[in-house]
Each structure stands twice: as C-alpha cells, then as structure tokens.
Homo-oligomer: 214 residues x 2
Amino acid sequence: MEAPDTKTRILDAAESLFATRGVEASSLREITASAGVNLAAVNYHFGSKDDLVLAAFRRRIGPVNRERLERLDALEVAANGRAIALEELVEAFLAPSMRFLSPDRRLHARLLGRVHHEAQDELQTKLTHEFEQVVHRFVGALSRALPRLGPAELLLRGHFMVGAMIYTLTHLDKLETVAPVPLHIAADQVLPQMIAFVAAGLRAPVPDRTEVGR
Amino acid sequence: MEAPDTKTRILDAAESLFATRGVEASSLREITASAGVNLAAVNYHFGSKDDLVLAAFRRRIGPVNRERLERLDALEVAANGRAIALEELVEAFLAPSMRFLSPDRRLHARLLGRVHHEAQDELQTKLTHEFEQVVHRFVGALSRALPRLGPAELLLRGHFMVGAMIYTLTHLDKLETVAPVPLHIAADQVLPQMIAFVAAGLRAPVPDRTEVGR
DNA sequence: CCTGGAATCAAACGATCGTATAAAACATTC
DNA sequence: GAATGTTTTATACGATCGTTTGATTCCAGG
C-alpha cells in the first residue's frame, strides 16, 4: 500500500466530501486539510475548484459508462442480429454502477448519484455530454427490445429506470434507517431486484388514458 | 391579483432559486433582490437562512403528504376491509406530487425533488420526519397488497418507486432535451405511465438469485 | 394628533470563500 | 555539486457570505 500522490489524494478527499456534503458545501480548505496537502495544491494541480469537481466526477463516470458500452457491444455481438433479452439490456446498463453499492465503495456510489443533482449550469453541460453515447445506444437497443412502446413512452420509462438507479445509489443507506423493522439489505441483492422491477416496468402495457387519472 | 406580503414574496423567490440553483448556491442577497425586499427581511421574518430553507420546503411538502394520507384514508374506507388495488395505492402516493409537473408549477416540482438531495444533516433530519407517517402508512398498505414480497424486497421496491418519482420531478424538463427526436411529453401523460411502470415493477416475481448477476 | 409596536431600511460586522503570489523545498540532469 | 524545472509552502488578496445593528418608516388604537 503505497502512499498515493498529491493529485489522487486530493481527488479522494474531494470525492468523500462531495459525496457526503455536496460540492458547494465542501470548501477547498476542508478538502486539502482532509487530504493532508497544502491549500494551493488544488489550483496548482487542477486549475480551479470547478475543474477539480469535473475531474472527481469524471473519474467515476468514465469507467462506468465505458463498461456499459462494452457490455452492450458484447450483447449485440452475441445476439448476432437476433433480439436481445430485455433483462440483459437492463443489466448491462445498471450493473456497472450498482457495483459501487458494496460497503467499501458506497462513497463512489453516492458521488455517481450526485452527478445529476449538482446543478451549476456549465458543469452540468459538460457532464451531460459524458452520457450522450450511452443514452443514444441504449435508447436504440431498448426501443428494438420494446417495439410496442412509442418514442415518448420509451424515453419516459427509461427515465424512471434512471431515477430508480440514481436514488438507490445515493440513498440506499437511508433505506435501512427508514425501515420500520431493523433490516439488513445485502448489496448484491439490490441489482437482481432492480432488474426485475425495471424490466417488468418497461414491459408494462401502455395504460388506457381514460382509465387512470381523473 | 393582490401583491403578496413580504413573507410569501421571500418564500416564492427562495423557492425559485432553491429549485434551479440549489440551496447552498442561493445567497440571501439574490433571494431578497429577486423578491424586491430588504436583505434583513429574511432574518427578521424567518430568523435565519436555515429556517427559511425549512419553511420553503415545508410549504410544499405539507400539502402533498396530507393529500397522500387523505387519499389512502379514502381508499381504505371504500375498500372496507377488502383488498385495495395496487394501482390505486400507487396513484394515491404519486398523484399529489405529480400534479406539479404542469408547466406553471414545474418549479414546485423541482423543489419537492430537491428535498431529498440537499444534505445538511440537521435539515435532512427535520425533513425526513415530515415523511414518517406517509412511509409508515404506505408501507403497511403496500405490504398487504403484495403479500408475496418479503419486507426487504418491499422496501427496496418502494425505494425504486420513490426514486423514479423524484427523478421525474426534478428532471422531466431535461428529458425533452436529451431526446434524439424533438419530442413533447404532456404533463398529464406522465402519471398514468408512471403508475403502470411502478405497479408492474412492484408486482414482478422475485428473481431467482442464481439466474441474474454473475 | 399622538403614541407604540411592527416592519423596513441602509450600513456594517466578522467569517469564510476561491484564487494568486512569491519564496522555499524537492527532484532531476549534466 | 551547480543548475534547472517541478512541487510544496506560508501568506495574502478581494469578494461574498449570513447575520446584526440602530435608525427610520409605517400604521393602527386611544
């Protein structure tokens, strides 16, 4: 276990604080103190706080999205033109991020979840770009697996899936708190439950518009 | 259309800024300037920024949770001991907040969604308390409607529902942006789609643990 | 008209923020 | 071991933050 260099120590400390307190509430003084480095090291190595934030988020987003695309590639090659099972598509999308739900990686999960909630126009624009390819590819694959759904319905349900995923990444710890009965939820139980939930939700018949709602 | 008093003008301005920029990024100077009131008015009427934040959130959470409980009461009275349809339970939970998705109330929706993401230990504790009764009542009702689900599975899937709801409240606007084809999603189309998605997800058979996941 | 409490105002407080600077320490190459 | 480029350090800058103060304005009750 070698001592990591300054840059990674800053990233680690920043990630921990961003994940628990949020970006705006984490000062560079807290971050550098927690990392055991000098205050000026952030501006020296990253340029500015905004760039540090971007780097911290990208460090987690990059590998996750890369694995999503690799899994989708593998599925499409294996299918060789035939249809891909919905559950496999959903797993290809969810599994790479859900891996961070293990207790020792919970902080990474929380950071991944925060990506979509830390506003900051400019930051949000740059981060959204990181997801463009993943969104495009998976929307295409899902629409082929769910030919009955119109484009608006598909996008909407895809959004529901993303929402369930993100909320789980950020709030799984709280679930055990809210539970009426003390309850242990194994991290590796979450993914299969979520795949079952989301796949069933995606497959649900389009509701008759006059039936529900008043 | 009478000019609202100072207190509500502050709440309105604060809500708008909190919803778009987040709590930490919204200064009292921005808020009071946007409200057209003096800077000191916040501390005079609310005591502190934290109390203003609490008041702003409570103003939206209160009525929503109250309506959730009223709807659940009505369903249970109508059922008179018999089973309540899952879709009706889900609608009772989702509809009160989804009403804010109409274009003129989108800001309220975004604020409702942010409740769960603005950390601030103390604030979070107080806000969580606002949901206690709703969680307790709906967990009970859902578990009666879904007797096949164990407590851990039920809570987990309930979390997925909440996640889909919150993400929709905060990010529905972005859906139209991300769409490959320009796309209009009518606000009143969202609720029935979400009820169908969530109800199907909740009903999904418990996955065989060895089948999915590697 | 007078008076007293409520509300608003301009101004300032100390604290903390992100950033910049210039010197010191370190590492590497000849 | 002197020279050169890289990294770390202590310190300070200006800006902005939430909060407080004390004076001023407002307005109803006597």
